[in-house]
């Protein structure tokens, strides 16, 4: 699984390098924060909504396409479901996505929509009992976002991603959906 993540990262970096040297029109870096709205009712019952933080590179090519890659972290505190609120639990998710998108601009606004892959590492721990789970998975990611040029190289950016993320402990276990819709907003800085 580590090898798969490394290959994925390498491929992303390679692609970014190639297009940067050849056909890049602009490259921006963004930092954003927001929340995740889980698909799974059990997730919502245990953790509610999540706090998500993301940092991304946005590479707009010459033409209506581009790539984005980055890193996002999500952290949740909750209480295990049961007859009493006895056990505090915590779930974290680290994600490295690579997404190709199409874009179009209207005045200062640029809209992006795309799809790609995201490598996820999910860890769940019970704080007072020796119980936990750690797993990794590469899953599809869908993206819809927009940015608005503010002043100079600075833009306001907001985007939503949808991650269908079904994980299971072993091939015989039933899968658990820990994905959902993540919406973040923040600022972007155009490097060139």
């Amino acid at each position: 699984m580590k090898r798969r993540a490394a290959l994925l990262g390498l491929a992303g970096a390679l692609a970014l390098g190639l297009v940067t040297s050849a056909k890049a029109q602009s490259l921006s870096v963004s930092a954003a924060g927001g929340g995740m709205f889980p698909s799974n009712g059990l997730y919502r019952d245990i953790y509610g909504r999540s706090l998500a933080l993301a940092g991304d590179l946005w590479l707009d090519l010459r033409g209506p396409f581009g790539f984005t890659a980055g890193f996002s972290a999500l952290s949740d505190d909750g209480v295990a479901l049961g007859p009493d609120d006895l056990y505090d639990v915590k779930l974290t998710r680290r994600t490295v996505p690579v997404v190709a998108y199409g874009r179009f601009g209207v005045g200062p606004v640029t809209v992006r929509a795309g799809a790609g892959l995201a490598f996820h590492r999910v860890e769940e721990t019970w704080r007072t009992v020796d119980l936990g789970f750690t797993g990794t998975k590469t899953a599809p990611r869908f993206l819809l976002g927009a940015s608005v040029r503010l002043i100079g190289r600075l833009s306001f950016t907001a985007y939503a991603t949808y991650d269908p993320l079904h994980m299971k402990e072993d091939p015989y276990a039933s899968s658990v959906d820990v994905g959902g819709l993540t919406a973040v907003a923040g600022l972007a800085w155009r490097i060139f």
């Binding site: 245990i46 007859p83 936990g132 789970f133 994980m167 658990v176």
Partner: protein
């Protein structure tokens, strides 16, 4: 006024004209009720059959037999359930499932009435006129199609490991089993044989029933009664039902039963049908079990039943099982003994036949046979073996087993005038009766002097906590205090009634226990025993499966 009357008359007439088709539609049945066969082929699902409300009347090895009118058939077609119609007007007559193992059997059936081969070895039989029950050739086992809807069995799960260990032999039960004697068994067989015939429609059979009633009554049991039923249209006969009421769990019932009626070829059955092996042997074992257990206090209620009209199509047991189900009786297990004394070779083994839901009963029988016979026994899980009195109990969702000497039968005297006491093998007969008594005693639990009382009021409740990937499960148990107990042991198994493992190292002093060695998805069966001051251990409490919550009207243990 005349105009008003005319108007009312017109309105009334119009109303009748409009209402009539509606009334006709409401009263129109879904056409004649047909007997259909639903193969258990690809796509077959017991759950789908149940969801569609199919009126299943018999489960066979490779198919189901069901009654269905045109509406039902349309629903089956819409749901993609394959079926074929065997008899378009089955709703108007009595049908029989008949064991027809050879082309000659099928030919004999067709000579006697209408017969359709349903699957290898099994036919459905009826007659257009006259009594179908009397028309079935004597040598063929038969069962009148169930009078009520039956629930198809779920496919048995593949065994995931070795069968759970049967309990070790109980010295007290060994003593009881040792009281079963060949002479006593043979005396009963001889008595029944001396009635010349016990064909269910004859006065001789009625007299045999009265003799059994008297024999049970002489044992000092708590209750002996006749259950009268009608069969094949115009006949009546009587089951003999004797009861030893349990002192700890009087509403939980174990049954040991056998049919006492007999048959032989149609030319002789009204005058000569000795039926020594079939089934004076089983009846004698039931009476012997009653004789041995009568002086002893038991935790559970035991009923000793001699059924009649089995040879006509299981009518006696059908009437009894239906009445028990209607009354909501808690029948925990049924041991049906039918032909347990003929040995084609020694050592002979006993066949124990069960449906998937009763498999635990067979596993217990195998252990009891080894401990108390001693006797070799073989388990067969076959829900389609329906030709004896266990079958109506399966139809009413009670666990039941059939103990029989051979399947297929090898007794050359079967249903003949030569089925007499002299053809029986006394050692095998005695071992079969001892094994059956041993199992019955294990289930009913004799109360032994000097031992602590059996714990009661056992309750178990799950407590489960879930996160996304993990669960933490515990089972909380509580039971009523037993005055003469110095402590308690808690046992758990993953199969019902056997394979218990003790969970506590030392006796528990309180009357609660928490089992934190379970997983949330598991199925567990718990029992508790009381331990006396000298270390003697009581009988087991009633077995319990943990519930998700305490049921409001369940008896709660008193506060400590």
């Amino acid at each position: 006024m005349k105009t008003l009357r005319t108007l009312l008359a017109v309105l009334l007439a119009a109303g009748l004209v409009l209402a009539a088709p509606g009334a006709l539609l409401r009263q129109r049945p879904g056409g004649p009720v047909a007997l259909v066969k639903i193969p258990k082929g690809p796509g077959y699902s017991p759950a789908l059959v149940a969801r569609l409300g199919v009126d299943v009347r018999q489960e066979l090895r490779t198919s189901l037999l069901a009654l269905a009118d045109a509406t039902d058939q349309a629903r089956l077609r819409r749901s993609g359930v394959r079926f074929s119609v065997l008899d378009r007007t089955a709703g108007r007559r009595e049908l029989f499932v008949v064991g027809a193992g050879s082309p000659a059997d099928l030919a004999a059936l067709r000579a006697a009435g209408r017969a359709v081969a349903v699957e290898p070895g099994t036919a459905i039989f009826w007659t257009e006129t006259g009594s179908a029950a009397e028309a079935v050739p004597a040598g063929l086992p038969r069962k009148a199609l169930s009078a009520r809807t039956v629930r198809p069995a779920r496919p048995a799960a593949a065994p995931t490991g070795p069968a759970p260990a049967a309990p070790p032999a109980d010295p007290f039960i060994e003593t009881l089993a040792g009281q079963v004697t060949a002479s006593s068994l043979n005396a009963t067989v001889q008595t029944l044989q001396d009635f010349q015939t016990r064909y269910a429609s004859t006065s001789n059979c009625e007299a045999a029933g009265e003799a059994l009633y008297a024999a049970f009554s002489a044992l000092g049991l708590d209750d002996v009664a006749f259950q009268t039923f009608t069969f094949a249209g115009s006949y009546t006969s009587r089951n003999v039902v004797a009861e030893k009421t349990g002192s700890t769990f009087p509403d939980d019932i174990y049954i040991v039963c056998a049919h006492y009626d007999s048959t032989s070829p149609s030319a002789t059955r009204l005058t000569h049908a000795p039926g020594a092996d079939d089934n004076a042997s089983g009846t004698a074992a039931v009476l012997e079990a009653a004789r041995v257990l009568a002086p002893h206090e038991l935790d559970y209620t035991v009923r000793f039943i001699a059924f009649s009209a089995e040879e006509w199509g299981l009518y006696g047991s059908r009437a009894y099982a239906a009445a028990a189900r209607t009354a909501g009786e808690r029948v925990r297990g049924v041991i049906n003994l039918d032909m347990i004394a003929y040995a084609d070779a020694m050592p002979e083994d006993l066949q124990i036949i069960v449906n998937p839901a009763s498999e635990w009963l067979a596993d217990l029988y195998l252990g009891a046979a080894a401990s108390y016979g001693p006797l070799a026994a073989t388990k067969t899980v076959d829900a389609s073996f329906v030709y004896s009195d266990h079958s109506p109990f399966w139809d009413t969702n009670y666990p039941a087993l059939l103990a029989i000497e051979d399947d297929p039968l090898t007794n050359p005297y079967y249903h003949k005038t030569t089925d007499t006491l002299s053809t029986l093998q006394p050692d095998f007969f005695t071992a079969s009766a001892r094994a059956s008594l041993g199992l019955l005693a294990e289930l009913a639990q004799p109360v032994k002097a000097g031992y602590p009382g059996t714990p009661t009021g056992l309750l178990a409740m799950w407590e489960v906590y879930y996160s996304m990937f993990r669960s933490l499960a515990t089972v909380h148990l509580t039971w009523r205090d037993q005055a003469d107990a110095a402590g308690y042991n808690v046992y758990r198994s993953s199969t019902p009634h056997l394979g218990y493992v003790k969970l506590n190292a030392a006796p528990i002093e309180g009357r609660t226990f928490t089992d934190d060695t379970v997983v949330a998805e598991g199925t567990y069966y718990y029992v508790v025993t009381a331990v006396g001051p000298t270390g003697l251990e009581s009988n087991r409490s009633a077995e319990i499966v943990p519930a998700d919550f305490f049921i409001d009207d369940a008896p709660r243990p008193e506060a400590p």
